[in-house]
Amino acid sequence: MTGQSLHRRRVLQGGLGLAALGALPLGGGALAAEEGDTIIAAAKGIGKTELKAIMWSNYFVPMKGPIEEFEKATGIAITGIKDLSTPTIPQAAMAEALTRSPDFDIVHVGSEMIPSLVSAGYLEPLDEYMHKANYKMDAVGDYANLATYGGKTYGIITDGNIFVHQLRKDLFEDADNKKRFEDKFGKPLAYPKNWDDDFQQMKFFHNPEKGIYGSGNLRSRGFGYVWFLMYLYSFGGFPFDPDMKPTVSSDAGKKAIAVYLRDKEVAFPDSPSWGTSQMIPHIAAGDVYSCQYWGGLIKLQENPAKSKTAGKWIYGAVPGGEANGKPLYRAAGMPVVVLTVNKNSPRKAAAAYMACWLGTEKASSQIVTDRVNTFNDAWTRKEMTDPRVLEAYTPGGVKAIQANLQVAAPNIFLTGNQEFVDVLDKNLGQGYLGQLKADEVLKQIDEDFAKVVKRIGTAKLKKDYETYATIMPKATQPS
């Protein structure tokens, strides 16, 4: 125990030292500097440009430093944002797309919106600009694929959202608990490898009377479906077959819904309506044994000023399911928040280079390590060894993020994503409340999916399917 906390402190000090040096052009390293230079060279001819973006201000603030730098070098800057909370940005972006409006140049949105926005004629492919600027998204694993559609790149990642499994170290390592667990189940208390292990542990530690709830997973509207999709993928399932016939009521679907619904036994009774707003404080306050959550939470709960559980967590790979007799790991990588560029904007080149610039190692590491606006998460390969990142996320946290990024599974990556999500929201919600039985939920989802597919067009969605299938991670488990 003491050894580890000492270690942590050393890292912390090292991190602080480096952060202080951050003003010097030391942070990036040779490659990043080159990378940035080529972008500046490509963008220089454009001249003074004022860009407007749809973006949440709390995402925007840490970008201000890099933006100013880019402005000094090229005259291009983001001068105005439509400041919306992230859940409302897809609506705003679609509204822009429908009117083909040139008002905004950059939209900061979850990558699952890319198919819809491209289909509505709103997004500019960025490959050509990236090529000219000699820029490449250097993400961990296949993560950057989640920003592509039909073989083209449409978004530059700024926020590497990825699920990390976390459990309470203090409870997990307690000798008494270990013994009790072994006595009860005849096997040692070990880090959970699959959903059954996970559930067994959550149930073992679930003790509402003492203020400890087994699970901190979300089941409410707008959130629960993320978990369901993750379970579905991890059992080898997929929402559609190549002909776009819905296939949620498969064996994989049955297993997934079972995992989804049994969480109720170990969850807060409030979980039908709790989103992150309510759950995060509970997790940070120490009321939860384990959960899968976005990696960004680590920054918050490891910050002693904001959390009672700093240093009390173990992070690792999200538990897996099983397909064809082999373990299969899938961590929810949604939403991958990306900078997209409006095709109808006369300033699209400037916007594209700005996006590339913000996706460079140098800019990104500055953005994701902001200690106050902690909303952007690390995603590039280099960041995984950056002392500032290690300090913010703890070394264990970074390792877990890195592992899960390799098996990052996407949201429903089809045109009409929001409609499919609404179907999931409605039916999973009713299932969780007991208004529908498990197999009814699956059947209803398939029926509703079929209606949406029919309306949007089977032929069109079949093409989308190809992208959707190819951006699924190749690795079956983190290396």
């Binding site: 679609m94 409030d270 045109t415 009409g416 009713q430 409340l433």
Partner: protein, 329 residues
């Protein structure tokens, strides 16, 4: 009388010609007042309604084509509205929400007004406090409700302390309670409206009938039921109708608090249409849903108008006589 005075003032013109030019001037005056409104309705509202109608008959799939190329599908979209159980539930929830809020606001508003309308010590303070919720922005109420109504939030905490039991009502997470919860918040928000209307009504009641009843020895309960209440009927009806219509369209409180959840427990018409249109971007279905809603609302309004008008007539005849008497005198 007016004409006579006017004629006397100008003195010269013949009464007939004067009338003609006067009525012409009046007509011009009327048109000058009305034309901006008509212009706005014609240029802003009419195209919007036509566009809405177009979308209700043309399936526009936003990812496939521009809106003017949408396929004509006849009544298909309306059919899917009428066969959609989710829409039916949304109608029922809206009616329950609006009905509950209307009755709640009225009962509370009336009780408060009845208790406060005669002068007593502290009257001004209570009055000032009671109108405050109406001045609060609904979206603020929604976000504050999220904190107050949490299972371990202040409301349950205070109830637990007061009763000595551990009260853990799931105000927001229990699907059987959630709709009631948002209705209660709406009642909190809009009771002042009913309160003020009822207060205006009560304090302008003629005193004579009550005094007469008192002389006859009627109990205050009977006076209330048999004298005051009937006299207040028009005002009560107004308070009820306006509140009901407003509540049918209520959006920010439910949206800000629960977005229609948990499950679909608070998915009212406003929420469902919003989801269809702005989340699913099924503009056509949203348009058809809107038309059905609009027709329903217009039906309710027409009914309300008939009721209100009858009350207003009876009120007018009740008061017209003494006024006429005054004028002739």
């Amino acid at each position: 009388m007016a004409e006579a005075l006017a004629g006397a003032a100008t003195g010269t013109a013949a009464p007939g010609r004067l009338d003609a030019s006067r009525s012409k001037a009046v007509r011009r005056f009327k048109w000058m007042i009305l034309s901006p409104l008509l212009l706005m309705l014609l240029s802003l509202l009419t195209p919007v309604l036509l566009l809405q109608l177009y979308f209700s008959f043309h399936q526009w799939t936003v990812y496939l084509s521009s809106w003017w190329n949408a396929d004509f599908v006849g009544l298909d979209i309306f059919q899917s509205v009428f066969t959609d159980p989710r829409f039916g539930w949304a109608v029922l929830r809206s009616l329950a929400f609006a009905g509950g809020s209307t009755i709640g606001c009225f009962v509370l508003g009336f009780s408060l007004a009845y208790l406060i309308y005669r002068p007593f010590r502290g009257q001004a303070l209570y009055y000032a406090l009671f109108i405050v919720p109406m001045l609060t922005v609904p979206i603020v109420i929604a976000y504050t409700g999220q904190m107050l109504l949490d299972r371990s939030g202040p409301l349950n905490d205070i109830l637990s302390r007061l009763t000595g039991h551990d009260i853990q009502v799931l105000w927001l997470s229990n699907p059987d309670i959630a709709l009631l919860t948002v209705t209660l918040l709406d009642i909190w928000n809009w009771t002042p409206f009913s309160f003020i209307i009822m207060l205006a009504g009560l304090s302008s009641l003629p005193k004579e009938p009550v005094e007469a009843a008192q002389i006859l020895g009627a109990s205050s309960w009977r006076i209330f039921w048999e004298v005051q209440l009937p006299l207040l009927r028009p005002v009560i009806l107004l308070a009820l109708v306006l509140r009901f219509l407003d509540a049918m369209g209520s959006f920010p409180i439910i949206w800000g608090l629960l977005q229609g959840g948990p499950g679909t427990a608070t998915e009212t018409l406003g929420i469902y249409i919003y989801i269809t249109t702005w989340q699913d971007f099924n503009v056509s279905l949203g348009a058809a849903q809107s038309y059905v809603t609009m027709v329903m609302m217009v039906g309710i309004v027409l009914l309300a108008i008939r009721l209100l008008r009858r009350e207003k007539r009876s009120l007018d005849t009740m008061y017209a006589k003494p006024q006429e008497a005054e004028e002739t005198a």
